[in-house]
Structure formats: C-alpha cells, structure tokens
Amino acid sequence: MLNVALAKGRLADSCADLFLRCGIRAEILKEETRKLVLETPDKRFNFFFVKPTDVPTYVEYGIADIGVAGKDTLLEAGADLYEMLDLKFERCKLCIAGFPSMRGVQKPRLRVATKYVNTAKRLFFSRGEDAEVIPLHGSIELAPLTGLSDVIFDIVQSGGTLRANGLVVLEEVFDISARLVANKVRLKTKAAEILPLLAQMKRHVGEGI
C-alpha cells in the first residue's frame, strides 16, 4: 500500500481528477468528509490530508511515500526529497510586487513582507542585496499599504488582489505548479508500486487543464 500526503482543498480536487484518469479509485477524495485518513476500496492507496506546508515534512520523514505539493511550498521547506513530476496544475508565479512607484527603485535596505521567509532570504542573498525580510502569515498585500514594507514577495495567480489594492507585479521570480514528490528511500524500496504510478501519471499530466 502506498501512503500519499495531500493538501486539502483545490489541490486535492485536482489530484483526485488526475488519479481518477490514471485508473486509481480516488473517488473517495471527492466525498465530503472530515476524516484525515482515507483508504481506496482496493486498499492500494492510503491518503493523508495535511496542511499544504506539511506535505514535504510527511514525505521527508517517510510517513508518506509520496505527496503532492506546490513548488512554492517545496522551495520554502527545503526538505530532502525527490521531486519527480511537474503536475502542471495550480500554476501561478512567485513575484515581487509593490506600488508602481517602486519600479526600478534601488533601496539600500529593502523591506520585504512575505510568507516565504526562507525563499526570500535566499533570493536576496543570492543577488547580494541587503533586504529586511518581514514574516507574515496572510493578507500580505496590506504590508505596503500600511507602510510595514516597501514590497511584498508572494504568489500571484490572477493578480486581482494586487489590482484592487493599487499594487503591481514588479518582477516574476519563480514559476510555480504542483509537483509530485517522493521519499528518497521509498522510491527505491517501493519502486514496484511507485514507478508504474509515475509512468501513468506522466501520460495523463496536462489533460483537462
């Protein structure tokens, strides 16, 4: 049996569609339930519902053999695992955004508000820029509006929230999409279960998007 870590919500729905296309009896993922562990009727798969940012943790520790997580989460977690497949859904961009007046502005110590603290620190460090990274958990767009930060570093999907608050994308930094990740040991010790699944998913990725 394969243990699969999934993030609840939209990501789980897209995963369910992909699994169903691959012939996996994942219809249970579509049911309304408050259960955190769901088993397929043929007992081949065991799904764990975890917080999106916890998917890399469950997979790195080998509690889950494989999992599905956004590239943004993987970048931030920096977990030691295999990134096997780009599932091509939940696409968005990790961007630097702010007021249009910030375009091209060089500040000696840029204040950046973000949920992605590790990724932001690595990014500005790699560019040799001095930045003060301010950790937030939500409503990141509020930070430049209230003067907490100069810019924000966050995922942008439609850009609706940015526009509604008079902000613009200053730079697109990373392309984000959902990725299939695997525990480094389980890929080998459960190869007979994981590899055929991977091959099948590879065939069906990108359909129905």
């Binding site: 080998g62 295999y82 525990n183 040991v185 010790t189």
Partner: protein, 382 residues
C-alpha cells in the same frame, strides 16, 4: 537558564536505547575484526583547515568552531572518513590499511529535526583499487546490515564518474555544474531543464543530463545510460559498474543491489563508485559510502580508498524491536549480613552470573531476579 535541559539537536541515550546501540555495535565490532579491520579512535577536536582547506570537503556551515589558545580555529570532528584518511596518509607507514571506527560526528547546521551529534560505525579500506575492491566494499556493507539484523534493505549504487564524464565538453561552468548536480540529486528534472537552457550546455550533454534523474533501477539502467553518451570517462564508469555487478553476483550479493546514476554525491569528496544503504522501515539512508581516491593525497600521501559509514540511530530504527534486558540477580545485605552477601555476590560473579549488590535501604528496582537477602544468619531469603 534551565541547566537540566539539553541544547537542540543532541540527546541522552537512556538504558533501553543504549543497550540496543551497544548490542548492534558489538555485532559490528565482531564483524569488522573478523574481516581484518583495526579500530581507531580519532581526536574529537581538529583544525578547521583540515576540512576547509583545499576545495572544502565539509561545508563551513556544518562545523562547530572554536578558537584555540594560539588563535587557530578548531572544530568538533565533523567527518570520520577524512579523519581516517588523515591517519592513513600521515601516521601509518603501510601502503594498505583497513581501519574501522565507532564514533560520533558533529553537524552544526542540523538541529530541529535532525541530530547534531551522530553516532557512526564505519570502515575504510586504503590502498585498494578496482572493481573487485569496490564490489567487496558493497558486499561487506550488505553483510554488516545483515549482521545487525536488518533484513529488508537495498544498497543503491551510483558512480560520480558518469556525471563528471558527461560534463566534459558540455561547456558548463563549474558553478553551473554544481547547481545542476543539486537538481539531479533531488531528481528535479524541471529545474535541470531550466538550468541547462539557461547555461547553454551542448546538445549531447543535455540529453544525458536530462535523463540522469530517471536513470535508476536494475542493472539495465547501465545500458540505457551508455546509449546517452560517447564520453570515454562516462562509458568507463559504466563499464566499471558492470564489473562490480558481476563480482557482486559471484559474491551472492547482487540481490541487495540497485543502481541510481542520478545519485551524484559531492565531487570534492568522491571519485568513483558511491553507494547508499536504504532500509524498508526508515525514510532516510542508514548507510553511506563510496570511493574517495583523492582525499589521502590532500594529506600528503596518495592512497586509493573506499569505505562506508552506518548511521547507528537510523539503523536501530530499522530494527524496531529492542534487545531483551539481560537477567541479573540482586543480593540485598541487611545489617550484619554484609559478609555473607559479599561472598554470595563474589560467588555468582565467579560463576559468570550477573549480579548487583544492594544495601537493605530502599526497594530493589524492577527487573532483578532472583533477589537474595543476606542477614546475620547468612543468606536468609530468596
């Protein structure tokens, strides 16, 4: 300050765990000495420059650093292989040596979810080259895992020479190659592709580098990999692995083996075959090893070398069950019964029976049996 707590990343091994650790170390120690390895204890403190000097073999962020009295920078032993290579190159006069160790290594950057003090058991074979020596190291690694009682494991084999060979003539800079190595190790084909486009590698190299993340499985991947390159060094690495595999077949160890050419360990450290022990129940490798022919030369003497280390804590996790508590008698001496009690204690020990001596005050802890009571009239109860 709470002085009864411990800094993050380190911990105490209490009796049950310590018993399991020593039981496993005992079995390994017997296996090592049966195979002619001599144990060494290396210094706990070393100079920072030993590890950071040329082409830094240990990352700076991984070392616990202190300043010595003369102002030189010293570190808590970060790596046992380098310590053994230093000994073999500078202190042993022979051209061949077999060393083994049981030792803790320290990792400053770990912590939180990883240990900063890691108990390792390992062997290093100096002065041996070629496919047979490599096959022996892999077969002995499998034997050691079996010896401590791990049944469900595989040894996953790669070779840094394939990656190095493919890089030759690819036009990639050393920095770009190091970046791509990281992506290949994560089997992150998406980023390998992006990086290859960005840095503009030659087409032939691109095809091989893009395939690397998926070049794992049985011995058939060696042929798949051979079709992707015409670089002599890369093909040489594959031919070498085939020879190793053939020897492993003769040693009856091929059933433990799988291949992964996308496991590209540090190029500053490894020079040839690399291998990793993976146990069924544990999500992280229990054993890591490989060939590091260039390391001894850094210490002034060129010696070929291959070896491996077992992470004892992870190995114990793969075992699961703890060894039984050994039987131990107790002798309780009441006032006036000390002489009789002492004599019984000595007699039991002489018979090879474990025995603990207690005074009458307080209860005898659980687990001791039988419990003899010594009083004024000699042994008065049991």
């Amino acid at each position: 300050m709470a002085y009864f707590k411990l800094p993050s990343g380190v911990r105490d091994a209490l009796p049950a765990e310590c018993r399991a650790l020593y039981a496993a170390e005992g079995k390994l120690s017997a296996a090592f000495s049966r195979a002619g390895f001599s144990a060494v204890r290396t210094a706990g403190l070393e100079y920072y420059d030993t590890f950071a000097g040329i082409g830094s073999t240990v990352e700076q962020s991984k070392m616990f650093k202190m300043t010595d009295r003369d102002g030189s920078l010293i570190v808590l032993r970060p790596d046992m292989t380098l310590a053994c290579a230093r000994i073999a190159a500078t202190k042993l006069r022979q051209k061949r040596a077999r060393l083994c160790y049981f030792s803790d290594v320290y990792d400053f950057s770990a912590g939180g979810n990883a240990d900063r003090e890691v108990a390792q058991a390992g062997v290093e074979i100096f002065g041996e080259q070629g496919a047979f020596a490599d096959a022996y190291a892999v077969a002995f690694a499998a034997e050691c895992l079996r010896e401590i009682g791990i049944g469900d494991f595989i040894i996953d084999i790669g070779h840094v020479g394939y990656y190095k060979g493919v890089l030759e003539g690819s036009g990639l800079s050393e920095e770009a190659a190091e970046e791509i190595r990281g992506y290949i190790n994560a089997k992150d084909a998406v980023n390998v592709e992006i990086a290859l486009k960005e840095h503009g590698a030659s087409e032939r190299a691109q095809a091989a580098l893009l395939a690397l993340p998926s070049l794992f499985g049985g011995a058939e991947v060696l042929d798949e990999a051979a079709a992707l390159t015409d670089n002599p060094a890369a093909l040489g690495a594959l031919a070498h692995l085939k020879k190793v595999y053939a020897f492993l077949g003769e040693m009856g160890a091929e059933k433990y083996v799988s291949f992964d050419l996308g496991t590209v360990k540090s190029l500053a450290y490894y020079s040839g075959i690399v291998f990793t022990g993976l146990a069924g129940g544990v999500g992280a490798p229990v054993l890591s090893g490989g060939r590091y022919d260039g390391l001894c030369a850094r210490f002034g003497r060129d010696l070929a070398a291959v070896g491996f280390a077992i992470g004892m804590e992870r190995a114990l996790r793969a075992l699961g069950e703890e060894p039984p508590v050994p039987a131990c008698a107790a002798v309780v001496c009441r006032p006036g019964g000390e002489r009789a009690g002492w004599q019984l204690y000595r007699k039991l020990l002489a018979e090879g029976k474990p025995c603990a001596l207690f005074t009458e005050e307080g209860e005898v802890p659980a687990g001791y049996a039988p419990v003899y009571i010594a009083g004024e009239g000699g042994i008065v109860g049991c």
